[in-house]
């Protein structure tokens, strides 16, 4: 062979060519599968929201059941003001729909750092986020028992990676109707148990603490003493704490909106 395979020039040329070809192939694959993956992710989101109100959906009937049970899709801003409210059929391509608000991306982008810097300080958190122009989604549902239920998406950090979930509140915006959590890489058998009904079945009937600075807590060891506390998972302390943190933080952001809503309905 005329080319010296061991020369530095050849090695570099080979490496550069290889990276360009591989990059093109992978970019093409990712682009052509993107729509299907997005549809799968949307189905999963619907299944999780429905799971929080106790409706067991699968991929084939998720959008159908979502249309049946979820009556309104609402977006609020940081101050608790409602900025959007939609009902009727959901258009996946409409990126302005509250359903399309990517709370996980917002969490990674700005909320995570702000929450870390302002632990247990909701006013500080809000002022840190004021520049980010975030909106927060909320799903108003008609539960299987005909109750008016609000589903709030929550996002946080577990031990190894992101955790997220949906907490459903009854129309008093205080009582937990149901909850569903999921995780990316928590330890199987320990932190990963937040996904199981063994953990989520403890949530219905709990209430947000209207008086204290802490709205909700996941506690360690023994029975919870107040109705705003839920028993954590043995051996999954950091994941349990993460669940408590994300619920408490998110509810604090939604609190002013809930307050305005309950006052409005009291006057009616």
């Amino acid at each position: 062979m005329a080319i010296n395979k061991n020369s530095t020039g050849y090695t570099f040329t080979f490496a550069i060519l290889m990276v360009v070809i591989v990059g093109t192939v992978l970019a093409f694959t990712a682009m052509s599968l993107k729509d299907r993956q997005a549809a799968n992710a949307a189905d999963k989101k619907m299944m999780d929201i429905l799971g929080a109100i106790g409706v067991d959906a699968n991929r084939s009937n998720a959008s159908e059941l979502f249309a049946e049970y979820v009556t309104e899709r609402i977006a609020i801003d940081l101050s608790g003001k409602e900025v959007d409210r939609r009902s009727g059929a959901l258009d996946m391509k409409d990126k302005s729909d509250p359903f399309s608000i990517d709370v996980q991306r917002d969490y990674r982008g700005s909320v995570k750092a702000a929450a870390k810097a302002n632990k247990d300080d909701i006013a500080g958190l809000k002022s840190a986020l004021s520049g980010a122009n975030l909106t927060f989604p909320l799903f108003r549902c008609n539960s299987p028992e005909g109750k008016d239920v609000y589903v709030v998406p929550v996002v946080g950090s577990g031990l190894w990676g992101p955790i997220w979930g949906y907490v459903a509140l009854e129309s008093d915006m205080q009582t937990v109707y149901g909850a569903k959590f999921d995780h990316k890489t928590e330890t199987p058998g320990l932190g990963a148990e937040i996904k199981e009904t063994m953990f989520t079945e403890k949530w219905p009937g709990k209430r947000m603490n209207a008086s204290g600075p802490v709205l909700f807590e996941v506690v360690k060891g023994g029975a919870p003493t107040s109705d705003y506390q839920v028993d954590g998972i043995t051996g999954g302390t950091i994941t349990s704490k993460g669940v408590g943190e994300m619920v408490n933080r998110t509810m604090a952001i939604y609190a002013s909106y809930f307050k305005s809503q309950t006052q409005a309905s009291a006057q009616r």
């Binding site: 062979m1 395979k5 061991n6 050849y10 090695t11 080979f14 490496a15 290889m18 990276v19 591989v22 192939v25 992978l26 694959t29 990712a30 599968l33 299907r36 993956q37 799968n40 189905d43 999963k44 991929r59 990316k184 890489t185 058998g189």
Partner: protein
């Protein structure tokens, strides 16, 4: 390139057939070479996951072996491991993306283990030991042989674990099929209960160990001297 076969040799010569059959038994990647154990332990709780995982590994192994074999005279020696790694990693990303698009639930269950195919020693082992020194044809057969050798162990282990751990077997497209009569179970007044230990990773190790035991007692040549 002394290991290269002579040009006239047919694809299904005796030597090439050995490439297919050896990894199934006497040089099985899992039970004899003890490679790729990590994923074999982690994803054998259900048959369905094991099938998808096996197919993914088979695809990556065939693709990697053939591509590396085609490029074997072009790959610069000094960066050959990196080149192999890039090829394997790209194939794995393609598998991952396709699973996410077409099998989202299984993709979720396999989670990190699809990505970890990149570090599966069977694949790098075959690329380095075989594809780099052989023509595409034999490399293709070698990949199928080793992929199937990996697959049958996974299938056997997952069937044992799922049957005794969950009392059912998840057949692709049919969901979990319950093979044991429901009245046998203690919850229905019977005598039988699922063995929860089977669901846990240690039992995969024990099951693989039993396969190794059977294999070595049938073929004494496999037993190490000391």
């Amino acid at each position: 390139m002394s290991t290269e076969s002579t040009p006239k040799e047919s694809l299904f010569s005796k030597k090439n057939r050995k490439l297919l059959s050896d990894p199934l038994s006497d040089s099985n990647p899992i039970t004899i070479q003890v490679l790729g154990i990590c994923s074999a332990l982690a994803i054998t709780v259900q048959l369905q996951q094991a099938v998808i995982m096996s197919l993914s590994v088979l695809f990556v192994l065939i693709g990697g072996n053939v591509i590396v074999s085609l490029l074997r005279n072009l790959i610069p020696d000094r960066i050959r491991i990196i080149v192999q790694l890039v090829i394997v990693a790209s194939l794995v990303i393609i598998v991952d993306q396709v699973l996410r698009a077409f099998q989202p639930d299984i993709s979720e269950k396999l989670s990190v283990f699809v990505g970890l195919i990149i570090t599966n020693c069977i694949i790098m082992g075959r690329l380095e030991a075989f594809a780099l020194g052989n023509k595409p044809g034999p490399s293709f057969l070698d990949a199928i042989g080793n992929g199937m050798g990996y697959a049958w162990i996974l299938l056997v282990v997952s069937i044992v674990r799922e049957l005794f751990g969950s009392g059912a077997i998840s057949l692709p497209g049919m969901g979990q099929v319950k093979f044991l009569p429901q009245e046998w179970f203690i919850s229905n007044g019977g005598f039988y209960e699922n063995n929860n230990l089977m669901i846990l990773p240690p039992m995969a190790l024990v099951t693989v160990g039993i396969i190794i035991w059977i294999q070595r007692s049938r073929n004494k040549a496999l037993i190490e001297e000391n």
